[in-house]
Amino acid sequence: MTREPLPPPAAYARFGLGLRKPHYAEVLAGGAPLDFLEVISENFMVPGGRPRDILRRARALHPVALHGVSMSLGSAGGLDPAYLARLKALVDEIEPVFVSDHLCWTRAGLGHDGFQSHDLLPLPYTAEALDVVCANLAHAQEVLGRRMLIENPSSYIAFAESDMSEAEFLSEITRRTGCDLLLDVNNIFVSARNHGWDALAYLDGLPLDRVRQIHLAGHTARAIGERAMLVDTHDQPVPDGVWALFARAMARIAAAGAAPWVMIERDDNIPPLADLLDELAMARAVAGQGSTLCA
């Protein structure tokens, strides 16, 4: 397999897409103006067949980032060794530019007595939870033999016992484990709106020199009971408010000396590839403006 040599991840900003089924043929035909692709790791952690073939062909064309949704870094019971073994096999074969998962938990217990929610569930930001996430993340990095990225989540509830902000919690994780950050700008926007946070203060609380990758996505406004909330649905174009926050984030990240890889993340109501490439062109333009903005 011929592969493009990977540049150092922080050498310069790059722009890509999450690879999804409706776009497989077009992307694999080559020629799309993409610097990299991201795939959902679990969709390709299978023994064989078409999914693995698709990923090998994608990797022959572009650098690939593996983005997970089931590692369950926040599980008090530790990580699933079978999951880690499958992910390691995929990492060893694909040689991804990044491996990432979320600041969340998805599972309680293991095996037949375990319960896997298949959702990104929220953590209380406490010393105990910090110890759990750091231990799990350190273990994953040791098994995978590489540094991971951790992504800030969208959340819809907050725990009274939290004694750290989410930004403080993430900062401490990067300090204790050496991991880097995948900054999801839409998730900041959604959580800030849902909880009344100041999104810029959130950014200022993060070690922005550690941001290696950025997700841009859309969300949906829903009435939850009597509350109007934003839900992280990834089924809409990137909205104006997220573009504006992205510009401010890029200015701050550039000032911190980092050059993250930026991508559009769309998982539902997926439009033609050309529409996402238009959004990616917008991301390039906004990033260019952002890096010249006053942080």
Binding site: G48, G49, A108, F115, S117, H118, R222, I224
Partner: protein, 249 residues
Amino acid sequence: MRLSALQRGFCDWLRDDDAQAAERFGLADPGGLAVYQANYRGSLMACLAEVLPHTLLWLGEEAFEAAAATFIDHSPPSGWTLDAYPAGFPAFLGTRYPDDPEVAELAMLEWRLSECFVAPDAAALGVEDLGAVDWDRAVLRLVPSALLLPLFSNAGAIWSALAAGEAPPGVAVSAQPAPLLIWRSDFTCRYRDLDAVERAVLPQMVAGLRFAELCGHLVEQLGEGQGIAQAGGLLARWAAEGVLVRPAA
């Protein structure tokens, strides 16, 4: 509350809503709690419908969703991949529709096809390889994606009709099960019925059967001339279909 207790309690709540959850979890802002429960049930429901689309067509949307909702209530997922969740649904449908065996068998066929789709790869014996194999020593082995699925009903014919957008045949049920061969050729999953000879020999080819043993079996059944001809015919068919692993040269 310890994190492990919180996570166990939250999982219990996802399965079984109650009004005291927000207080029990110590939520400062419980406003969006319902989002998580909707996500949980919605993803499981969508998974069952996506993996078993023809079972959904056969039952109808209302009956399928009612069955799926009950299954979700009683069978929480435990595996790391959502793709594994439907594994228990065919058997559940068997208990829900005990007098309609085609329902569970249709679901089992769809579930096995989805497993077949991502089964391990293997170099299949093709027609072009036949001349290069030492048949005196060759061992016939089914590709890793292949399996034999015993069916009492005509679920295979029903699935084919539904997949083609045609009116499905009426249900037919036999007293004895007939095995269906499922396998993947390149990236396409296939299935077909077996004749009597294949029913006898294919189960042995899961572990591996020497070609000489196959010939011996057929000669014993059919006589030397017809037995050898039958062995050659079967080999040509299996090679054309990509059912066998390519033997070592």
